[in-house]
């Protein structure tokens, strides 16, 4: 079963190579995009600096996934965090970016601290940093210890992946970074945490108790629902996408969770389906989220803002960006025939398999997960109708949007490559699936190939007589379109341009359009128990009858920030404030601190 030995500094097994491919697929278009995105607006030195950091970032990510021992894993993990931190604060003159960078740095190091703790426990038991030694040592570890390691690793990797409630840094860090960096951070970096989960939970820790999988499922379900609800409420294009990363990490975790729950079961097909669904969604999310972030960069450059309430009508002035964004939006909303549809379908199939072979309470739990996933995909589609519709359709809502120009060639190429990949990973699913299945089999240690593949459809043939075929779907759609087109051409009707229906009053303008806030209002009311919306109304009156100005703002409460992180930060500040007397600034006192510490250490050494 063991194809690759876990000895040595580096590791090139199927999983590592799979992640290297994911890194390459997203980072190459992002790098091409950065030429046109960054070089016109920064100095030459800064541009070079950005490129050096980018190279370090991509290099460290590649090294994390090929590390063969705990130590180098941790070193490159840290290098990855730091280089991405410097990229987040690239525009360091903005207060916003520095603040975002600080939040990111604190959160990611908290996560790393948990990882170090887990790795220390593993090292103590294995006596070596080598993955191979760890794998052997884990077998003789007491179950409690393994549970503790699991939880520590889950918190550590979960922080990086953005699992709710550790997602707090994503909506700050992604919007602050330059677009191609956010595309890499969201498309690839948070997936490295998923790599860590797969490597450690499934390959090194081996079969755990089923509740490990349940924990992953619960947090996955929470992440996808909460992520998408916040995304619906946010009208900053990049923040919205950042929350969608939380959602998609949740979907990946659902697939992974199924694989972990059913790992011990005799039915290997469910595990394989869950794992391949997770891996497929992982690469898909890298592609469409990378694409969407690049598009958001292109839009932001053209309009000078990320607020979609000030956009509109961009489909006419930026046709290429609009088509690319549409492809990405369709992919992430799981619409056939694009790639998101394939991976969500696989995840649903894994759930169906899990339902068929589970019993009692587990079955109902699985059904609830299905319902959450279904609600999530509905809400995600709603959110992207909002994002695309308000940004690109109808009339421009501001002068900047009116005067927007299409981006430069390199940016279009960067977006174009990813858009084509999103389409290809959808319609070519029958060709791509064998590779993903192979990786999943290697990860799970399943020998035989379960699926029979063909080029035109993704079929679960031996297990169940069902399949999907995006290519036949495209074929039928194209046939219908051609027939209708031929009909339109052969018997043309006049199309009279006219104003939009305005009940016969006056000519409608951009101010009459539906806004993103209005668009998401039903959802805000439906989820008001969770979002706790409130409004600020300010009226300045000349007299009782005449209001001179009127401002209306609506906000939602971010409950995790308000009720968990803010008190935590406040508590930390309080404690620091109370301990300030320790640091009066006198050098003599500090020397005595060092002396006392040294004495205690020596005493401790002598006594122990």
């Amino acid at each position: 079963m063991e194809k690759f030995s876990y000895t040595g500094l580096f590791l090139f097994d199927g999983l590592s190579c799979f992640f290297l491919v994911v890194i390459a697929l997203v980072s190459i278009p992002s790098a091409i995009f950065s030429i046109g995105y960054l070089s016109p607006c920064v100095s030459k030195i800064k541009f070079s600096l950005a490129n050096i950091l980018l190279v370090f970032f991509v290099f460290s990510m590649s090294m994390v996934v090929t590390s063969g021992n705990l130590f180098s894993f941790l070193v490159f993990w840290e290098l990855m965090s730091l280089s991405s931190y410097f990229l987040v604060v690239f525009e360091h003159t903005h207060q916003r970016c520095v603040r975002a960078g600080t939040i990111y740095l604190v959160m990611t190091h908290m996560g790393t601290a948990f990882l170090i703790a887990a790795f220390a426990i593993l090292y103590v038991h294995a006596g070596s940093f080598d993955f191979g030694a760890v794998k052997l040592a884990v077998l003789s570890m007491p179950q409690d210890m393994r549970n503790i390691v699991f939880l520590l690793l889950f918190i550590g990797f979960g922080t990086k992946a953005g699992v709710v409630p550790l997602h707090i840094w994503l909506p700050y860090a992604h919007p602050a970074a330059p677009a191609h960096v956010s595309s890499l951070m969201s498309g690839v970096m948070i997936k490295i945490a998923i790599y860590g989960m797969i490597r450690f939970f499934i390959m090194l820790l081996g079969v755990g108790p089923p509740w490990w999988g349940i924990v992953i499922l619960v947090f996955g379900a929470a992440s996808c629902l909460i992520g998408v609800i916040y995304a619906l409420m946010d009208h900053d294009l990049k923040k919205l996408l950042a929350y969608h990363s939380v959602e998609n990490i949740g979907i990946i975790l659902l697939g992974l969770g199924i694989a972990m729950v059913f790992k011990g079961y005799p039915v290997t097909t469910i595990v394989l389906l869950g794992m391949s669904g997770a891996l497929y969604h992982l690469v898909n999310h890298g592609l469409f989220k990378g694409l969407l972030f690049l598009c958001s960069g292109s839009v932001a450059k053209a309009c000078g803002t990320l607020d979609i309430e000030k956009m509109g009508g961009l489909i006419k002035s930026m046709p290429v960006t609009a088509v690319c964004f549409l492809v990405g939006a369709m992919g992430i909303s799981a619409l056939p025939p694009l790639n998101g549809f394939v991976s969500e379908w696989l995840t649903f199939q894994a759930f169906f398999g899990a339902l068929l072979s589970s019993q009692g309470g587990l079955k109902i739990f699985m059904l609830i997960c299905v319902a959450v996933l279904a609600l999530t995909s509905g809400l995600a589609a709603a959110c992207f109708v909002k994002a695309f519709g308000i940004t690109f359709l109808a009339l421009p809502r501001s002068r900047a949007a009116q005067e927007a120009k299409e981006s430069s060639l390199s940016m279009k190429v960067g977006m174009g490559i990813l858009a084509v990949l999103v389409v290809l990973f959808g319609i070519g699913c029958g060709l791509i699936m064998p590779y993903i299945c192979q990786v999943a089999q290697e990860v799970l240690g399943i020998e035989n190939t379960l699926f029979s593949f063909n080029w035109f459809s993704l079929s679960l043939a031996p297990i169940s007589p069902i399949s999907i075929s995006p290519i036949i779907f495209v074929f039928i759609l194209a046939a219908v379109s051609l027939v209708l087109l031929a009909w339109f051409v052969l018997s043309p009707r006049k199309a009279v341009p006219c104003n939009t229906w305005d009940c016969g009053y006056y000519v409608l303008g951009a101010r009459n359009e539906y806004t993103a806030t209005a668009y998401s209002k039903p959802f805000r009311i439906a989820f008001s128990f969770f979002l706790l919306p409130y409004r600020k109304v300010e009226k300045i009156r000349d007299s009782f009858y005449h209001v001179r100005s009127f401002t209306y703002q609506t906000h939602t409460t971010k409950i995790f920030k308000q009720y968990f992180y803010d008190p935590l930060v406040g508590f930390t500040y309080n404690v620091a404030h109370k301990l300030r007397w320790l640091q009066p600034g006198s050098i003599n006192l500090y020397i005595s601190y060092i002396f006392i510490a040294l004495t205690i250490l020596i005493l401790a050494l002598v006594i122990l």
């Binding site: 308000i390 087109l485 229906w501």
Partner: protein
């Protein structure tokens, strides 16, 4: 193989041709129940013919999305016609998809329709679009859970397995009623939406297609009829599980659809349209029924 493909295409065309009739029957029944004479059951066909002969009026603000949407919406529902075995349980395009794919393909059409509604820059379109995606996303859990329960009862999500349910099972009937509630929402019927309303402020589906006219409107209306017949077909499998045979299958099929149409018509005239936020309770109730049906399926009922 060739012969079967040919039959599948014939069956899809049969569904498309039959679809407006069902709408016509429901409309006629509703009018008769209200003591009105009502238009002929063939009125949807007359409307179609009338609309395709007309010129179009298109808003100046629109983009290519607006023009492409009718084709995509019609194309996507047409694809679903290939997925449903109607005349015989093997008459469907197996490789194309399963019951889940049906839901996903519908969401493609809805996505574009919601975008097109925003494209004209009017408030009514935006309102309709926002409400449509709101209702659709809350309908999704109930739809998928009930389809999963149906699949559990037949052991597979393949359309042929679901189409050949044998006899009534309590859990199937229960999730069928959840699916029926969702079907009312998806086909824009009372109590969720009202197809006959003339007041823009209360419209959902009608507000989305408000800017359409002529041939585009004809295509969108046809697509709505087809979507309706697809939902009714799935309901007919659950509520009237009898083996379908190719010779008289079509007659049985029409009879089943007529019975469902009667139910829908009676429901529509005996209820009032709900407030938008009451729809949440309605769909939540459908979801609870679906979960309940899973519990019954679990204990073998």
């Amino acid at each position: 193989m060739i012969e079967k493909t040919f039959l599948i295409i014939i069956q899809a065309v049969f569904l498309v041709i039959l679809a407006p009739l069902i709408s016509g029957i429901i409309h006629k029944l509703k009018n008769n129940l209200r003591m009105r004479k009502g238009a002929s059951v063939f009125q949807p066909y007359y409307n179609f013919v009338k609309l395709i002969a007309k010129d179009e009026v298109i808003s100046r603000n629109t983009s290519w999305i607006f023009r492409a949407t009718p084709v995509i919406v019609l194309g996507s529902v047409f694809c679903v016609c290939f997925l449903l075995p109607v005349l015989h349980k093997s008459f469907f395009l197996g490789p194309l998809g399963d019951m889940l794919a049906v839901i996903f393909v519908f969401s493609l059409g809805r996505f574009f329709l919601a975008l097109a509604a925003l494209d004209a820059a009017g408030s009514f379109g935006g309102m309709g679009s926002s409400r449509e995606v709101f209702i659709a996303s809350f309908a999704e859990p109930a739809t998928l859970v009930s389809i999963f329960v149906l699949g559990l009862n037949c052991g597979s999500l393949s359309p042929s397995a679901v189409a050949s349910l044998e006899g009534w099972r309590f859990s199937s009937l229960l999730c069928g009623s959840a699916l029926g509630m969702v079907a009312l929402a998806e086909t824009a019927r009372i109590p969720v939406d009202n197809q006959e309303t003339h007041l823009e402020l209360t419209m959902v589906h009608e507000a989305m297609v408000l800017e359409y006219s002529g041939r585009s409107l004809a295509l969108l209306e046809l697509a709505a009829h087809i979507k309706q017949i697809i939902f009714f077909t799935i309901l007919s499998w659950v509520f009237f599980p009898c083996p379908v045979n190719a010779v008289w299958g079509w007659a049985w099929f029409i009879i089943k659809l007529c019975i469902i149409s009667v139910f829908v018509a009676v429901t529509e005239i005996s209820l009032a349209k709900m407030r938008l936020f009451r729809v949440l309770d309605y769909l939540g109730f459908a979801f609870l029924i679906a979960i309940l049906s899973a519990v019954f399926a679990l204990i073998g009922m």
